[in-house]
């Protein structure tokens, strides 16, 4: 986060809210998960919009109710179903690369637990 006098107030609240190293690490993991899910939905919806495919048409291609697609792409569901994501990607003629990799040994070099990379 950029340091400015005005953003320092938020930093003060973060410091107060996450007092220990463990609290901060857990917070960062939760932020990283939210960011990854949001980036995934944004990426899929950009492909859909760029291909001029309506959500209704995408639902027809996937074989689900339109509400399922809306819930997924609008982020209304609390949990993103990997199964649906894969079907949506296939229907949009794209694929998603996933790799499971070990964390680096050094504690400070740990990566976020999940990250969506730009295509």
């Amino acid at each position: 986060m950029h340091k400015s006098k005005e953003s320092a107030v938020f930093a003060e609240l973060l410091a107060e809210s996450f007092p220990t190293v463990e609290d901060r690490a857990a917070h960062e993991r939760e932020v990283a998960k939210l960011v990854a899910f949001a980036e995934l939905l944004i990426a899929l919806d950009e492909v859909r919009a760029g291909s001029k495919i309506s959500k209704a048409e995408l639902a027809r291609r996937v074989g689900v109710k339109p509400s399922v697609i809306s819930r997924l792409l609008d982020g209304k569901g609390r949990n993103v179903q990997l199964d649906t994501v894969a079907d949506v990607a296939d229907a949009l003629d794209v694929y998603i690369e996933m790799r499971v990799r070990p964390q680096p040994k050094g504690k400070r070099a740990r990566h976020a637990p999940i990250e969506v990379l730009a295509a």
Binding site: S4, A11, S17, A38, K76
Partner: protein, 173 residues
Amino acid sequence: MGDDWSVARTKRTQEDRWQPVFYETARGERPAWGFLTGEKTPIDVRIELLTTVRAVLQVGPPRFPTSTQRWRLMHKPASKKEVDLSGICEARDKHSNKLYRLFCVIDRNAPAHGLALPSLVLLGGVVKPARTEAPQSEYRRIDRYRKDYQATHRVALGRGGAEWWPDVGPDMS
């Protein structure tokens, strides 16, 4: 400080281009701070709302999906009797059958009125029982904060030397 950071950031994100700020009233009150740290808001809720705000900042407020359980863009109300908060975003959480709403405005032009970066302005919050509407007076209060911010661009300033910064950035100027 940044040294006790245990989840390293692998890349710079939108969070380096957007900043969170607290709207401040003419009397020096910070309603969003009061909401987040007040007795009515459990620490678990505060943590959830702060997590949402950080994620929105990292993705970039204009890009973050605005129909999610956690983050929503307000639309025009169905009835003219209701306060129009359209254009305001809310970070949302539910806890023990109560709904917690932290209202924010996205200010892309913040640098034009003296802030360091485009800003996500935390206005204030509302708590209400699930499946109910908060009193319109609560929404009017939030709308008043928005209008006052838009007129004055008054935000809270930190004392500096914050204990912990979530990222390594340039020194505070």
